[in-house]
């Protein structure tokens, strides 16, 4: 089975490597990053450079989050839509292995991408003579954790619905939206008080808020570390918790994806 897992991961990697859309997005990101770095090389001061490094780290992290988040969605929906999955599952290769290879390959790419981001910012610090802060690695690892949650969540959505619907759902109906909605409903209940439907809506939004995955777990606990890029032992403990959350959510969405994939008619 391990052999089949590696064979599938290798094929997934070929899928990502040969996909023109992913290539264009990657190149676009590299171009934007390069322009921003060259610009700061020419015009930046030493104090400004620290801000630039932080900005590069944030920008690259956001890009990597979106890129990695889309990988599983892209792979699952492409294989489902071009119906090539039936060539895999009519061989002694169970859906567990194939789905595992999709998520593992996305995880490997995410790991490599965030390693490059952390390494790149460390290199910039070294070139510009800025002390390398452990906070760089904390931010990169937190970014990796969030990107993996997004990858598993979008992967699951792409099994159950059209990829465009999946993206719309993830963008428009995420936990942040329901958090804001609940806050607004609570304010409305406090100010008007009379409408009996409002508490029902509030409970429903709270349920959805609790159910939907958080892409940036425990963000408020490491906000100071992310701002100063200086991580304390407490911040690393929070990172461990975030890692645990990612593993749990990943396992949950893997199982859900598998459940729905097995019930799908693969014609």
């Amino acid at each position: 089975m391990l052999d089949r897992l590696w064979v599938n991961i290798a094929v997934q990697m070929k899928f990502y490597r040969r996909n023109r859309l992913l290539l264009v997005v990657g190149l676009l990101f590299l171009l934007l990053s390069a322009i921003s770095i060259i610009f700061s090389f020419v015009f930046g001061s030493t104090t400004g450079r620290f801000e630039i490094v932080r900005s590069v780290l944030t920008q690259a992290g956001t890009f990597a989050f979106l890129f990695v988040g889309g990988l599983s969605l892209f792979s699952i929906s492409a294989h489902l839509r071009n119906r090539s999955l039936k060539m895999v599952l009519t061989k002694p290769c169970p859906p567990e292995i194939w789905l595992g290879s999709v998520y593992l390959s996305a995880t490997l790419i995410a790991g490599a991408l965030f390693a490059v981001i952390a390494g790149g910012t460390a290199l910039l610090c070294w070139i510009w003579g800025i002390p390398i802060q452990s906070g760089f690695f904390l931010v990169a690892l937190r970014g990796l954790s969030g990107a993996l949650v997004a990858s598993f969540y979008l992967g699951f959505l792409s099994v159950v619905m059209h990829p465009v619907m999946a993206v719309l759902l993830a963008v428009l109906l995420n936990e942040g939206v329901f958090y804001g909605l609940r806050f607004a409903l609570l304010t409305a209940i406090r100010t008007t008080g009379g409408n009996p439907l409002l508490p029902v809506f509030e409970k429903a939004t709270y349920l959805l808020y609790m159910t939907l995955p958080v892409f940036d777990p425990y963000a408020e606990k490491v906000a100071a570390a992310e701002a100063s890029l200086r991580a304390t032992p407490a911040d690393w403990r929070v990172l461990l918790q975030a890692g645990g959350y990612t593993l749990t959510v990943g396992a949950l969405f893997y199982c859900l994806s598998l459940f729905f994939l097995k019930r799908k008619n693969l014609m």
């Binding site: 070929k14 040969r18 060539m87 009519t90 061989k91 002694p92 290769c93 169970p94 014609m267």
Partner: protein
């Protein structure tokens, strides 16, 4: 080896979710060593039946048993199966060589580059080994499908329109491959519209019409070989033997038909009387005739 028991598949299609019965209470058994051909018009449910057998779609009602168990996608039993899909739905981003190696390795075969090369050579794909499947013609993709069936010595083959898009040389070679596999004991289930291929290869035939099984018998029974006869034309005969059925008389020339079994008697009769036979043609009922007559029975207005 394979049993479908009262299998019904219903889909909902289109914006209005119109219900469609793709398979209607299909019951079918395939024994070890059978070469079963599934025949039917477009949309009769042949491919749906195959998807059901393979576990790719779940019956709304009834059950399918593959090697005595419900098909569990990707299970160990699939190591004994080869599947060639109707449409070449392969991993289009892979090259010919990569795809064949990938599918073979998934089947459990430990293939070397040389082994893959030799199969590609045999199927005339060697020069395209580095071409991506997205750039290949339909026929070439079909050959890739055939190649991936040949590595792990399958005991049960599912072939969905296997000859479609193939050139005559490869059709002939593939026919020989299938005949050999069948001779060696493999069980084959094939969907095809090429009745001549079915007639040449299959041992049993099942005919589907609008999802229903309307005929399932051995090829011999379906062809009703007892109805085969000779149409002949002979001159100078006066007293004709009783097994000849006269169709017409034109002066001294008689046009008649004769059962296949009377051929030897007829030859003796001709030799004794020194008669001149100007033509003697074996008229066989073809699978096409049987197929059409079964369908006409189902749809008299068609």
């Amino acid at each position: 080896m394979l049993a479908a028991e009262d299998v019904t598949v219903r889909f909902r299609k289109g914006f209005r979710r119109r219900p469609i019965v793709a398979l209607d209470h299909l019951s079918l058994r395939v024994q070890e060593g059978d070469f079963l051909a599934l025949l039917g018009e477009n949309g009769a449910g042949k491919s749906t039946a195959m998807y059901c057998f393979l576990g790719l779609i779940h019956p709304t009602q009834g059950r399918v048993l593959l090697f005595g168990q419900r098909p569990e996608l990707g299970g160990r039993s699939y190591g004994r199966i080869a599947y060639l899909p109707e449409e070449p739905h392969y991993h289009l981003y892979l090259t010919v060589e990569e795809a064949v190696t990938y599918y073979a390795r998934l089947s459990g075969a430990r293939v070397t580059t040389a082994e893959v090369g030799s199969v590609l050579e045999r199927l005339g794909l060697a020069e395209f080994r580095h071409l991506r499947l997205s750039k290949c013609s339909k026929g070439m993709k079909q050959k890739v499908g055939i190649a991936q069936c040949l590595f792990h010595q399958p005991v049960l083959l599912f072939l969905d329109e296997p000859m479609r898009g193939l050139d005559p040389i490869i059709v002939r070679e593939f026919r020989e491959i299938l005949a050999n596999l069948h001779r060696e004991g493999a069980t084959i289930i094939m969907n095809s519209h090429m009745l001549s291929e079915v007639e040449a290869l299959a041992s049993r035939v099942a005919i589907l019409d609008r999802g229903r099984l309307v005929a399932h018998d051995t090829l011999t029974n379906l062809l009703r070989t007892e109805q085969d006869h000779y149409s002949l034309e002979l001159a100078g005969a006066d007293a004709l033997p009783p097994y000849l059925t006269i169709q017409s008389r034109n002066g001294g020339t008689v046009q008649a038909t004769m059962p296949v079994g009377s051929f030897d008697d007829f030859m003796s009769y001709v030799r004794e009387r020194q008669l001149k036979v100007s033509s003697c043609v074996l008229t066989r009922r073809s699978l096409e005739d049987s197929f059409l007559s079964v369908l006409r029975k189902e749809k008299p207005d068609a």
